[in-house]
């Protein structure tokens, strides 16, 4: 049984940039290898207005989320404001690299709008904190190859929030169907200046 810890529980996530908006989405599966355990395991968290998707080893997903909840709360108390996406990205990077030789097995994605400039921001990381700044989309998880294929062909820049929702949803849905370890439901957040819309997608249950 030679296995990668980051594919033990399965799960995938994706983020995209639109016109003055961002979208971030994930599946809902939690498994143990090929056995499905839960269809209610959301992988997207938010700290103020910054959204974080965490794929990988589920135990680490929870630990890392709780750790960032603590760190962002402390940040909020020290700075008297919520953390911005750019700062949060650097916080994640240094927190992951701190454990360079005993890493968390997670694949994080950050998405959000900068409150000052209103600019959309997304980025992704490898499990030891190397940041991937992208202007278009970021993928993570066991269906990352499938998501790369979908996003690379479906994505176009400057989509309106409603169109961005369709594109990211179709990308996620088709990708997770070709991955045995992802699926079992999906969630999409579309983030704009004045509101956040959270939608649960209708998906296959196999």
């Amino acid at each position: 049984m030679s296995q990668d810890p980051s594919t033990y529980n399965g799960g995938s996530a994706v983020a995209m940039v639109g016109k003055d908006c961002v979208a971030i989405a994930c599946d809902l599966r939690l498994g143990q290898q090929s056995l499905g355990v839960s269809n209610d395991f959301e992988k997207i968290f938010h700290y103020g207005h910054v959204f974080l998707a965490l794929t990988g080893l589920a135990t680490d997903v929870i630990s890392v989320h709780e750790n960032f909840r603590m760190k962002t709360n402390l940040y909020k108390m020290a700075e008297q404001r919520e953390i911005e996406p750019e700062s949060f990205a650097n916080l994640i990077s240094s927190s992951l690299y701190e454990r360079r030789f005993g890493p968390w097995f997670v694949g994080p994605i950050v998405a959000g709008l900068n409150t000052k400039s209103g600019n959309p921001f997304i980025c992704g990381f490898d499990y030891i904190g190397c940041i991937d700044f992208a202007k278009d989309f970021i993928v993570a998880g066991t269906a990352s190859e499938q998501l790369f294929g979908m996003c690379e062909s479906l994505y176009e820049p400057n989509l309106e929030p409603d169109d961005l929702f369709e594109t990211i949803s179709q990308a996620l849905l088709s990708a997770v169907d070709r991955d045995a370890l992802s699926g079992w439901g999906g969630v999409v957040y579309v983030i704009t200046k004045d509101k956040v819309v959270k939608r649960y997608l209708k998906t296959r249950q196999d």
Binding site: E145, Q146, M150, E152, S153, L154, Q170, L173, S174
Partner: protein, 245 residues
């Protein structure tokens, strides 16, 4: 026991002697990268493949066509270990010749598929390291695509991607050819978007976009795109350049 000791082992730069004997073994297989893709239409079928051939991080050739017109309006490509792919196509062509001598008629696509299954399964214990796609027209003149695993398990499908970037292209095909997950916008998510056959022009556009996307994200895909189209009038070839980085 052994695996715990391994972490205590000195690195390759050290002069320390290894504690276990090194096992050398001949590996008869190689991965030559590349990707292929077959789509069946109403009265045509296409089989496409990139023309790059790789070993590791090197490009062996920027133009090594791997989709073959094997005669009898059949297209065949075996992607993976290219030596095995070439061998499989050669053996198939020779078998086809004997089929003509023995039966004095064209081989039908479903017969070709069954023949390929036997050719692959014959080597069950030392397989051809390839994913194979066969394209042609069936008895009714409808497009047919058959896909095979390395040991001969096969299925007729509407579309199939094989090779290095199959996992990138296949979900895209599900979405754009079979309209998976697409609902009729009027129905508020209750009715699926009705299926329809795509025209040849639409299919070629899809194939080109699938390959240019795969080229962007997979390092082993690129250089050139070869599309072979089979209709009742015969086989036609098209070539489009892809990015070379």
């Amino acid at each position: 026991m052994c695996s715990t000791q391994k972490s205590l082992m000195a690195t390759e730069y050290s002069t320390e002697v290894r504690m276990e004997p090194i096992e050398h073994r001949f590996n008869p297989y190689q991965d030559n990268g590349g990707t292929i893709l077959g789509i069946a239409g109403e009265d045509f079928a296409v089989l496409a493949g990139d023309t790059r051939q790789t070993v590791g991080y090197s490009i062996d050739s920027r133009y090594e066509p791997k989709v073959h017109d094997v005669g009898d309006n059949l297209l065949l490509s075996a992607n993976g270990f290219s030596a095995d792919g070439v061998e499989l196509v050669k053996v198939f062509e020779s078998q086809l010749k004997w089929y003509h001598f023995d039966n004095n008629k064209k081989m039908l696509v479903h017969s070709a598929a069954r023949l390929i299954q036997h050719m692959l399964y014959k080597k069950r214990m030392f397989p051809y390291y390839v994913s194979t796609i066969l394209a042609g027209l069936d008895e009714e003149g409808k497009g047919a695509v058959y896909s095979f695993d390395p040991v001969g398990s096969y299925e007729r499908e509407q579309c199939r991607a094989g090779g290095a970037a199959a996992s990138l292209i296949m979900p895209f095909l599900d979405n754009q050819v079979n309209f998976k997950h697409q609902m009729d916008p009027e129905s508020k998510g209750t009715k699926r978007r009705p299926l329809k056959y795509l025209s040849l022009d639409e299919v070629i556009e899809l194939v080109r976009d699938a390959f240019s996307s795969a080229t962007e994200r997979h390092i082993e895909v690129g250089d050139g795109l070869q599309i072979l189209i089979v209709t009742k009038d015969g086989v036609r070839k098209e070539y489009y350049p892809l990015k070379r980085d």
